[in-house]
């Protein structure tokens, strides 16, 4: 069990061994994002751009246009705001092979407060044509999805935590874009979660089982493209859905799930666990998750509510 950012840093170093097109850029946060591990191993392929995120992403766009595979790194909140002008206007419009490492996602940079929390990044990146959005949930998936990102042609956003997540998958588990995974089976309700909320959902499922509620938990590692087939199956089999994410309830995983189900013609009662359209604040991570209702308790409350609306 390692911090997700460590796993990512190691994965970059590993990738570079057999792919000399990989370049890594950072904006004066390489010690935090762990891209600095790559910088140590491959100094000639590492570019610290200073505190200049727009410059960093646009530079990566140029590198990609010449056939390289640049990974840009900084806190998710700065990458998807200051880096957005190039992400949209150059990288996605040009379908360029730039990989975005969004570090310290959600509230994982807890004490720094709202200015450093990324609670809109999924929404922002998901709306860009050509962009894929992947969210690992443990060590094995972080490592694997970093490789998937490198191997996919075109832009990819990887949503990465500062935190340590418990292990869910074995080293040889296979991850594909467009695929979620059922990590706990159940029959009454499906919680579709990503990142840290997968673990919170499993915790909630354990507690709810004691109340006789059978909860299925889906880890939606690929938010774009989303696993529509799996979502439809879960809606049909369990009859209601709860989305759970460390992100605004607007525009993120929950919205993507609702869009997919509505479009497929299988709308079911749904509840949304996430940040309720407010700015967050400073504090210890666990206390923040609890205060904003995105912990196991928050998932449990949403599950009971979803069940109550199920016919």
């Amino acid at each position: 069990m390692k911090a997700i950012r460590e796993v990512y840093g190691e994965a970059l170093v590993e990738l570079a061994k057999d792919n000399d097109k990989i370049l890594v850029l950072d904006a004066d946060l390489s010690g935090s994002t762990k891209s600095g591990m790559f910088g140590k191993a491959y100094p000639e392929r590492f570019f610290n751009m200073g505190i200049a995120e727009s410059n960093m992403v646009a530079t990566a766009a140029g590198m990609a246009s010449c056939g390289m595979i640049p990974f840009v790194n900084t806190f998710a909140v700065f990458l998807t705001t200051l880096g957005l002008i190039s992400a949209r206007g150059q990288v996605c419009y040009g379908n360029l092979n730039v990989k975005f490492g969004g570090a310290y996602c959600g509230m994982s940079d807890a004490f720094d407060g709202s200015t450093h929390h990324a609670c809109e990044d999924i929404a922002v990146m998901r709306t860009l044509p050509n962009m894929r959005v992947l969210v690992p949930s443990d060590t094995a998936s972080s490592k694997a999805l970093t490789r998937v990102a490198a191997e996919l042609e075109g832009p990819v956003y990887l949503r990465l935590s500062r935190d340590v997540y418990p292990d869910l998958y074995s080293e040889d588990e296979v991850f594909e874009p467009g695929k979620g995974k059922i990590v706990r089976d159940g029959t009454d309700v499906t919680v579709v979660a990503c990142g840290i909320l997968v673990h919170k959902a499993l915790e909630a499922a354990e507690k709810l089982a004691e109340e006789g509620i059978s909860v299925r938990v889906v880890d939606m590692l690929s938010i774009k493209p989303i696993d529509r087939e799996l979502l439809v199956r879960c809606a049909e089999e369990t009859g209601c859905i709860v989305s759970a994410e460390e992100h605004s309830i607007y525009g993120g995983l929950g919205s993507a799930v609702a869009e997919a189900l509505a479009d497929a013609g299988v709308p079911v009662p749904m509840q949304f666990v996430g940040i309720q359209d407010v700015f967050t604040e400073s504090g210890p991570y666990a206390q923040l998750l609890a205060k904003y209702g995105i912990d196991a308790e928050g998932v449990a409350v949403a599950v009971r509510k979803a069940l109550s609306k199920k016919k």
Binding site: N48, G50, T115, S282
Partner: protein, 275 residues
């Protein structure tokens, strides 16, 4: 109208106390930014406790301070306490849940003029304040405190280009030029080159001085106020982590929790209480 030696001594003592209180709060929560809070101490304390017209946080004619390098928030909070804008005993709530004192400046905190945290935006906001205050007929001044690493941001140079255009002689930028940013020194991360020449080329009145020398800073601020042809910038040479020998000049202390041993050593050097 130069500052008296006696007043300089008083402010120096205030700075010593502020350093103790800021480090105590950062140590208490085991999170925060010691280096950049210590380097900006004299600049901010001289402005807020001596020079600025800052009687009430809601006086429309008050001078404005924009802490663009928002991670130095604890030093701002300690100054706001001294002004009486915040409860005297609130430092200990720094970065805790439900606190008035957020990790980065938030307008929930009385006396904070504008949010900060994402670097690079403060000079533009200060420019907007300077334009608005001038339009309202106020003689108020706007002071924007910038980090040197923060100067990497393109937006800073967009404001650097526009403020002279608008002839903002009520605006003064102060660069906390400690030579260090997050990953390393300016030279390692992004060399700044000839900063004085750069600002001058953009049309600013450039003043250089030592950033821990209160009398020198005061003279620099006098010069900035006296300049009427446009904005001024004070390039204040500082030391990151100033006042604690083992933190001085070290990027490692940019945003590191202060362990018990280091805290005790720091308090010994600053004459503060060790717990």
């Amino acid at each position: 109208m130069s500052i008296t030696n006696a007043r300089v001594s008083e402010l120096e003592e205030l700075c010593r106390k502020f350093r103790v209180d800021v480090l105590t709060a950062i140590h208490g929560i085991q999170s925060g930014h010691p280096g950049g809070s210590l380097s900006v101490c004299e600049i901010m304390t001289l402005l807020m406790q001596e020079r600025m017209n800052l009687q009430r946080p809601d006086d429309p004619a008050r001078d404005r301070l924009v802490l663009s390098k928002g991670h130095a928030a604890p030093m701002l909070y300690r100054n706001l306490i001294e002004k009486g804008f915040l409860p005297a005993d609130c430092m200990g709530s720094l970065r805790r849940i439900d606190s008035l004192l957020q990790g980065h400046p938030s307008v929930h905190t009385p006396g904070v003029e504008i949010p900060a945290g994402p670097l690079g935006l403060g000079l533009s906001a200060a420019q907007g304040m300077a334009i608005a205050l001038r339009a309202q007929g106020h003689t108020s001044r706007v002071w924007a405190i910038l980090g040197d690493g923060e100067l990497d941001e393109g937006c800073i140079w967009e404001a650097a280009m526009s403020a002279p255009k608008f002839g903002l002689n009520n605006l003064c930028a102060i660069v906390d030029w400690n030579g260090v940013q997050l990953d390393g020194t300016n030279d390692e991360v992004m060399p700044l080159g000839d900063l004085a020449a750069k600002w001058a080329a953009f049309g600013w009145n450039v003043i250089e001085c030592g950033g821990h020398d209160i009398a020198a800073l005061d003279a620099a601020m006098d010069a900035a106020e006296a300049y009427v042809n446009g904005p001024s910038v004070i390039l204040a040479k500082t030391v990151k982590g100033k006042g604690v020998s083992f933190m001085e000049g070290k990027a490692a202390w940019h945003g590191k929790a202060i362990d018990a041993e280091s805290f005790a050593a720091a308090m010994k050097e600053l004459g503060g209480a060790a717990e």
